[in-house]
Amino acid sequence: MSTEKTIDRLSAPPKPGRWIMPGLGLIQGLVISGKNAIQSYYKKDRMTTIQYPEQRAVISPNFRNFPFLCYDGDAATGLRCTACSICENECPPQCIYIVLERDENGKSLKRPKVFDIDISVCMNCGICAEVCPFDSIYMDGEYEMSTDDRFGGLMLGLDRLAKSAEYHMKLRPEEASAVMAKRKAEEEKKAAAAAAKAAKAKADLEAKAKAAAEAKAQADTEQKGESA
């Protein structure tokens, strides 16, 4: 840009003995700010203000705020979380509170009865999402969460934390599709392993039956030889 080059040339310290008309640099500065002011009316890159709340800024996919729990299909039955409490133990400000659901005999149902996150304490570090072994807790991107309820409004329970896998896909397509592919591969592997195990068990059973039949046949011939 010629304006910038002229400014560079003019704001260099003057060589001794060379007279520059004072004030030219000032006029260059005035021209730049005048250009800014006039072009801000019709050029997009000269007016960077976004008029909230009528317009909202585009947030990047890497933006993370508070956590949410992922479920496949139905919130009541498809919740991936098994209440293992790893995230509760790893959370640095200790803002997660989990109570495991047990049946009447005391056996764990691998489901959380209570899952509370105090988002006024949460520091958005994402450690809970990193350590979860069941792909169930991820970082959300919602930021308009202000409330006027001082004492309970910022304590999110299971009803507000549970969000569907489709929501996860919309929020972070890359991460969600990677997780879905991984889960599908795992399921297929499990199914293949189960099928292989079933086939092996069936083969074992057949082999055992065959061996038992052979042993019985041999015992029969021995008995017949003795009596003749």
Partner: protein
């Protein structure tokens, strides 16, 4: 009561601003008031008109300034209070009025109260002698220009009072800087006005405006700015007026990032609003004086535009000058106190002193081509010498950088 029959006053578009005064005088004579009451009523109406006009201009300017500065800085200004933010000054006024008025315990409450009042009063007084139109000079004093500078002197004393009466360090520092700046720049201001007084031969501001009527070569107005000494004096007056009004780049006294708010630090609520108002009204006054002295006051710029009322020309020129102040505010950084003082004493005062012999020579040699040939070198050669000296002595030294890993 004797209801005398007094005809309804006649007025034209030119004398429209006189209408309140004429109406009040007509009403008072209609109900038969004594003469002195009519005069007092008329004068009060005249003063009320001027104050009302300039206070609404102040309110408008506070919004226009914020929006202009915002556009220069790539952002929108206030646009939530009303359509395009037009009610923002109202919101500001309500905010200032409802704020708690805090007076520190170490402060002298009487001086603390008197200082904002004594800053607004000189500005309003100075607006009273300004020729705002051919038929609209609120007080046509014979010594109008001298009156203007005398009440300007009161502003400096009240800045000191504001700074000292607050009883804390930031205001004292700010007041010291403010007074030294205002005193230093008052000299070029007054000296550059001396040339105009010499050429016009009168201190009456309406005479100065009337002296600048007419057009050279049919198209160029006969304003003082279009003469060599007038151009130099006008430029010096312009720079000194920015410094007198404590505007950026000379706003050290109220530099927000340095000494909080300078002499206005310990003021809250309406007293702060009064400081604000005093500063802006002072800006109007001094810009108006610049328009009167150098830009021909209420004269029209082109001969065929003479049908427009003269007070519109005055306010149009005033608006142009004020917009240039805003533009400068949004562009330049603040000058340091030593740069400021050096600029005033070593550059502006010698150049201002040179405009006086230049103006005298201009008149002696008949205001023609000869005058141009004589006065332009008289002004340009010392200017060139001065700037060469500045470059040699005061230019920043070439920086040498030594890096850690070398």
């Amino acid at each position: 009561m004797i209801f005398a029959t007094v005809p309804f006053p006649s007025f034209t578009l030119e004398s429209l601003p006189q209408l309140p005064k004429l109406l009040v005088e007509w009403l008072l004579t209609l109900v038969g008031a004594p003469d002195w009451l009519v005069i007092i009523g008329g004068t009060a109406a005249m003063a009320g008109t001027v104050v009302g006009v300039f206070l609404s201009a102040f309110a408008l300017l506070s919004l226009v300034e914020r929006k202009t500065l915002a556009r220069i800085q790539n952002r929108l200004g206030p646009n939530r209070a009303g359509w395009f933010g037009i009610l923002q000054p109202v919101a500001d006024g309500i905010k200032m009025l409802t704020k708690e008025d805090i007076v520190p315990t170490k402060a002298e409450w009487l001086l603390h109260l008197a200082a904002p009042i004594l800053i607004v009063v000189p500005s309003i007084l100075a607006l009273g002698v300004m020729p705002l139109g051919r038929e609209w000079v609120p007080v046509n004093m014979e010594l109008g220009l001298l009156f203007f500078f005398s009440v300007g002197a009161l502003t400096e004393l009240s800045v000191f009072m504001a700074g000292w009466a607050s009883g804390s360090k930031f205001p004292m520092l700010g007041a010291m800087r403010a007074i030294s700046q205002m005193v230093s720049y008052e000299l070029p201001l007054i000296i550059s006005a001396l040339g105009v007084i010499m050429v016009t031969g009168s201190l009456r501001l309406s005479d100065i405006v009337a002296h600048q009527e007419g057009f050279n070569f049919g198209i160029i107005p006969n304003w003082n700015l279009f003469t060599p000494w007038g151009f130099a004096a006008g430029l010096i007056f312009y720079i000194a007026s920015i410094a007198e009004a404590n505007r950026c780049p000379f706003d050290l006294p109220e530099g927000e990032s340095e000494i909080v708010a300078g002499h206005m630090t310990e003021y809250s609520g309406f007293k702060y609003a009064l400081f604000f108002m005093g500063e802006y009204l002072g800006l109007f006054a001094i810009a108006g004086l610049g328009v009167t002295l150098f830009l021909g006051g209420w004269q029209a710029p082109l001969p065929f535009l003479g049908w427009v009322p003269t007070w519109i020309w005055f306010f149009a020129k005033l608006a142009v000058i004020i917009m240039s102040y805003l533009w400068i505010r949004g562009t330049f950084p603040r000058v340091r106190i030593d740069q400021l003082m050096r600029f005033a004493w070593l550059c502006l005062i010698p150049m201002a002193l040179l405009t006086i012999p230049a103006a005298a020579l201009w008149v002696f040699t008949g205001k023609g081509i000869v005058s141009w040939v004589v006065t332009v070198p008289l002004l340009m050669i010392p200017w060139v010498i001065l700037t060469i000296l500045f470059n040699r002595r005061l230019a920043p030294a070439t920086r040498t950088y030594t890096f850690a890993d070398s």
